[in-house]
């Protein structure tokens, strides 16, 4: 009987233990999946194995970097001369231009004549540059294939162009998006700190019990409103208000995002900061008051310094809340991938980019992987935030011990 009970307890403890590992397991799995896909961006060829970029074999130009190729396909060069080549004008040949040059009959019902037509075109135009499926290249192709460099981590982080669907050379520079994310978050926290701290102080030190019992649940309700509702409110109310108020060209700005995110971060900041303020020992406060300090002085010189680490935790957690917010930001910041220089400009954030683009990025493709790489960056931000909070907590614990 007793043995049976022991085994039973052991099984239960086993079940409890395995449940408690699920969170850790999830965190690890998230890391594995994000990194696995994200890293693919850097190992993956820009032009996939089935496609090819090629120029005529008569074309002397060498060292065509990905950036130069992107510019060529963007028609930034009229002739090859600017790239150190001949005076031949740059002629772009893709499957779609092919279809506009030759009729469907000429190309054959199943495209069987495409290779010979490609060859014909390249021979006739020494300035041709082509991008198409390898299967369209003839066996005796009169051109030279160009190897495109892979995307480097440095280019990914510091690149300023985000044209993920540009063909054939997509550009994945996320600097503008990182800056956008940071600016929106910074604005949100600047908006939320005064409101949040004032409310926390008011609730913990000034308000009567009755008022506190009314205000506190209201603050908690703010946390309950879904982010898409905040976004909807922002789109209909805040954006036009900002546009008129500041007399701007566009209302979808970092400021709009910051205000909405600031509101969304308020409950976190208020709750955590209030808890911290409340932990100040009563004896400490009373000692200060007994020395003749006013309540305000006590608050400033005793309570707030005592709760310092808790208050910083509150602010950092508020930042964490703001940085990862998706739907609300997607709806109000305009999502332009320009590097923002003021709070009154539109900006694109990491979460909004993922939400807007993932649904239409072909599964497993470069764009898909780039979005996972963005998620890795976002994830790293939040891990840093969490670790900072841990460090502050540990420090505070040591100090008080």
């Amino acid at each position: 009987m007793r043995k049976f009970r022991d085994i039973y307890e052991k099984i239960i403890v086993g079940v409890l233990f395995s449940s408690s590992t699920i969170t850790s397991l999830t965190v690890i799995l998230i890391i594995v999946f994000l990194f696995k896909e994200g890293i693919g961006l850097f190992n993956h060829a820009v032009v996939d194995d089935n496609h090819v970029i090629a120029i005529s074999s008569q074309n002397p130009v060498k060292d065509l970097t990905a950036d130069k190729l992107a510019k060529i396909f963007n028609q930034d060069y009229a002739t090859w001369q600017e790239l150190g080549g001949t005076k031949d004008s740059v002629k772009i040949l893709t499957t779609s231009t092919l279809m506009s040059i030759y009729t469907e009959e000429q190309l054959g019902a199943n495209g069987e004549n495409i290779p010979s037509k490609v060859n014909e075109y390249v021979k006739a135009h020494p300035g041709a540059i082509l991008f198409m499926s390898k299967s369209f290249l003839p066996a005796d192709f009169a051109g030279r294939e160009i190897a495109v460099d892979k995307i480097s981590l440095k280019k990914f982080l510091t690149g300023t162009h985000w044209y993920p669907t540009s063909s054939p050379i997509p550009q994945f520079g996320i600097w503008a998006i990182i800056m956008g994310t940071l600016m929106v978050t910074l604005g949100a926290i600047l908006f939320a700190i005064p409101l949040g701290m004032a409310t926390a102080i008011y609730l913990s030190e000034i308000a009567s019990m009755r008022l506190r019992n009314i205000v506190k649940p209201i603050v908690e309700l703010l946390a309950g409103i879904p982010s898409v509702v905040y976004g909807f409110f922002g789109l209909i109310v805040v954006v036009p208000l900002i546009q008129k108020g500041f007399n701007l060209d566009v209302g979808e700005t970092i400021l709009a995002g910051s205000i909405i995110l600031g509101i969304m971060a308020l409950p976190t900041i208020i709750t955590v900061a209030e808890d911290a303020l409340r932990t100040t020992p009563r004896a400490l406060k009373e000692a200060s008051l007994a020395l003749g300090a006013s309540e305000w002085q006590t608050l400033r010189k005793v309570v707030i310094p005592y709760a310092k680490s808790g208050i910083s935790t509150a602010i950092i957690l508020g930042i964490g809340r703001a940085i990862g917010e998706t739907m609300a930001v997607l709806m109000v910041t305009g999502n332009s991938s320009n590097i923002p220089t003021s709070f009154l400009q539109p900006a694109r954030t990491i979460p909004a980019t993922i939400a807007a683009e993932l649904g239409e990025a072909p599964y497993g493709g470069l764009h898909f992987k780039a979005l996972f790489a963005l998620a890795v960056i976002l994830f790293l931000f939040t891990i840093i935030i969490n670790l900072t909070v841990e460090v502050i907590k540990n420090k505070a614990r040591k100090q008080s011990a």
Binding site: S20, T21, I22, V27, A198, E295
Partner: protein, 284 residues
């Protein structure tokens, strides 16, 4: 004298800013309620969307959200509560406990869009559930897990240690103590936690974007492998898509109203329940 004036000014500013926070909530709620309440009626709640989603109702979205909430709770509640019990009752203050807490905090800090991405990679693609209620529920469940764990832990922590000691003194085992003494006392707070996490889950959009939500599906789900419409995503669609953006606005206000009403109802329910059960415990 100067001291008092300073104090008065400072305290008034604090008071003013606090009331501003309260005012913000009322502005947002007022906006949604004033514009939305006129749209909501029995038909709106029980009819299918019609006429390019400018008329009719939002029933499939309500049902879809209900399915997702239920599914995520079936997953997150047992695991969350069990894991809370393990961390608080079984683990001594050691490295493992610290580690598990840190992981829980880390998971809580993961942005919801990352959950969406992860859910898509693991459930939809790797495990081949496809876009489905199953995939969406599991994703939302993972998101709710840290909330449930934390609130369970807090609930257990608030149980007086003397109760545990008294129980041990009577010769019961640890498990019996937890089952017969600790859990009944902590139950009200655990329940509140559960309700609050339901509120959190029902309003999330980003995690379901790539795991389950569909633009238009005017029928009710028949299996856990079906896709569904969901309230938050439906609001997003109504607010930004649709050919007649003006004509679908009333529907958007109505949807926002229903969504907010559900979430607020859940929150109020949780706090009422907490008060009620706490009183009961005190009386005992």
């Amino acid at each position: 004298m100067n001291k008092n004036i300073n104090q008065k000014i400072a305290f008034s500013v604090f008071k003013l800013l606090s009331f501003a926070v309260v005012a913000i909530l009322f502005v947002i709620l007022g906006f949604i309620v004033v514009r939305g309440i006129g749209v909501v009626n029995w038909e709106f709640l029980t009819a299918m969307p019609e006429d390019g989603m400018t008329k009719g109702g939002i029933m499939p979205a309500i049902v879809g959200t209900a399915c997702l909430v239920l599914g995520s709770m079936i997953f997150a509640f047992p695991i969350g509560v069990l894991s809370g019990i393990y961390i608080n009752e079984y683990l001594p203050e050691n490295g493992l406990k610290k580690f598990l807490r840190m992981m829980t905090n880390n998971l809580a800090g993961v942005p919801s869009i990352v959950f969406g991405l992860f859910g898509m990679a693991l459930f939809v693609n790797y495990l081949k559930f496809g876009d489905s209620i199953l995939a969406g529920s599991l994703t939302l469940g993972l998101l709710a897990l840290p909330v449930v764990i934390r609130l369970t832990e807090e609930a257990l922590k608030s149980v007086d240690d003397n109760l545990r000691l008294a129980s041990y003194a009577m010769g019961t085992t640890k498990l019996q103590t937890i089952r017969r003494v600790v859990l009944p006392v902590a139950f009200p707070n655990i329940l509140t936690g559960l309700i609050l996490s339901v509120g959190r889950v029902s309003g999330e959009t980003a995690p379901i974007l790539f795991t389950v939500a569909t633009y238009f599906l005017p029928r009710l789900p028949q299996s856990i492998f079906d896709q569904v419409m969901a309230l938050p995503y439906h609001l997003y669609v109504l607010a930004t898509s649709g050919t007649q953006i003006e004509a679908s606005k009333p529907m958007a206000y109505g949807t926002a109203f229903v969504l907010v009403a559900i979430v607020l109802f859940i929150n109020v329910l949780a706090s009422l329940l907490r008060r009620f059960l706490q009183k009961k415990v005190k009386m005992n």
